[in-house]
């Protein structure tokens, strides 16, 4: 009787330990891999049996074996970005530019509070720019140009005081360019802003600040 109780307890403990995922970041990446079409086999090294994803090609980890970079630019990948990618909490560089990724940008990307560079440019993303991008306080590079994004530019992008390069051009964004976003040139670090080739409307206020430098023209369909 005692033996059976002990055995039951051990089995339960084993189940608990198994469910407390020791490899959650690897699982996230492998789950993403299953949703991607990878004609060039760039994800061949992504092996679900490995202890952590730190030996995967195109993945960089920090000293605690947590993913800090995904470098998958120009890799001919197609498929979606999955919401679980928002659980890679130490991710600083999400480089997936120049692919054929599609679907909408998950709101969960805004959970990547350590993100420094978000390069989704030259893909086929649709839908809106998530409002949650306003939480990415360390973001320096936000480049989503050359996609099919719609909707308005979320004003809380104006919260990103570290933003140096903001490129939203060549999409189907509508509505105004929020003034707070433009103010990042004066009060933030913004050095390069491109919203050209969209469906934006409204007035851009001039300032007298000598550091104000909008490098491209805002397209106004009503003009």
């Amino acid at each position: 009787m005692g033996c059976r109780v002990l055995l039951g307890f051990l089995l339960a403990a084993a189940a608990v330990i198994a469910s407390v995922d020791c490899n959650s970041e690897g699982d996230i990446l492998n789950a993403w891999k299953t949703q991607l079409t990878d004609p060039n086999n760039v994800l061949q090294s992504w092996d679900p049996t490995l202890v952590n994803p730190c030996t995967f090609f195109h993945v960089t980890c920090n000293s605690e074996n947590s993913v800090t970079r995904l470098d998958l630019g120009n890799a001919s990948l197609s498929g979606p970005l999955i919401p679980e990618l928002g659980n890679l909490t130490n991710l600083q560089y999400l480089e997936v530019f120049g692919n054929r990724l599609s679907g909408s940008i998950p709101n969960e990307i805004g959970n990547l509070r350590n993100l420094v560079s978000l390069d989704l440019y030259k893909n086929n993303f649709t839908g809106r720019i998530p409002k949650s991008f306003g939480h990415l306080h360390f973001l320096r590079f936000l480049r989503v140009f050359s996609n099919s994004l719609t909707g308005r530019i979320p004003p809380n992008i104006g919260n990103l005081t570290s933003l140096e390069i903001l490129e939203l051009n060549s999409n189907r964004l509508a509505g105004p360019l929020p003034f707070v976003v433009l103010e990042l040139v004066r009060f933030g670090q913004l050095k390069h802003l491109d919203v050209s080739d969209n469906l934006l409307a409204g007035t851009v206020h001039r300032t007298n600040s000598t550091r104000f430098r909008v490098t491209t023209i805002i397209q106004d369909p009503q003009a």
Partner: protein
Amino acid sequence: MALLGHVLLSKQHLDIYIGSVLLLLLLSNCSFSFGVESDINCLKSIKASLEDTLGYLNSSWDFSNNTEGFICNFLGIECWHPHESKVLNIKLSDLGLKGQFPLGVENCTSLTGLDLSSNQLGGPLPHDIDRILSFVTSLDLSFNSFSGLIPLKLSNCSYMNVLKLDNNQLSGNIPAEVNQLTRLKTFSVANNALSGEVPLFNTTSITADSYANNPGLCGHPLKSCQNKSKSVCGPNLLSGPVPQLVFGADSIGALQVNFFRSRNGVVIVAAAGFGVGFALFFEIKLQ
């Protein structure tokens, strides 16, 4: 000789003497200027030698309006003083730049920091890097595709505090003389194809993480560099596909060493181990 000395030191010729020295100073070339002309040429050369795939340099580095300190507003350029074209730092990280190491940086003679990380730069690092980056305290070339050797003369860049060469395709040895960089606080060559013995550093700030993912590197704080002929990674005598074998206990030991390189080999050895284990278990159980 004494007469000449007498003439030079006599008071009535002193003003002529001072005048001619001043004239010489005025006529002398850029070496006495505050680096303005050379710094502008430095940036022109960088722009010309790099492929600007995302167009940032093309739009921001406009050399037509050359008022005092105009380069200080360029993307990625920090100046010593806002109205003087003397470059303090060049920070061109993550700008989609392609090409080789821009040798024109040599003309930014007051440069203290160079960050070209996270681009698509390739080719070798210049062998006379000490002449190009004489006073640089921070050099970050990480996350590119630089190849070839780490320049020996890097050891002459005595002001270097931060040296990041990680995540490239550098090969060969790390020059032992790099340990002469007494101000070095951050040093990383991780994720390259380097080999050989690592330099002997005095500082505690350089750990095994500095060298991570260079399988050929050895020496403290990594594993010691043992004699190559005794290493497990030595040349195999067997070649070709792993043959199917009947598992006998006496042949297992000999097969194991040669199977490290073969994935099938690992599976076959594991199966062999299980086979032997089961056989022994039932033998013992039946007794």
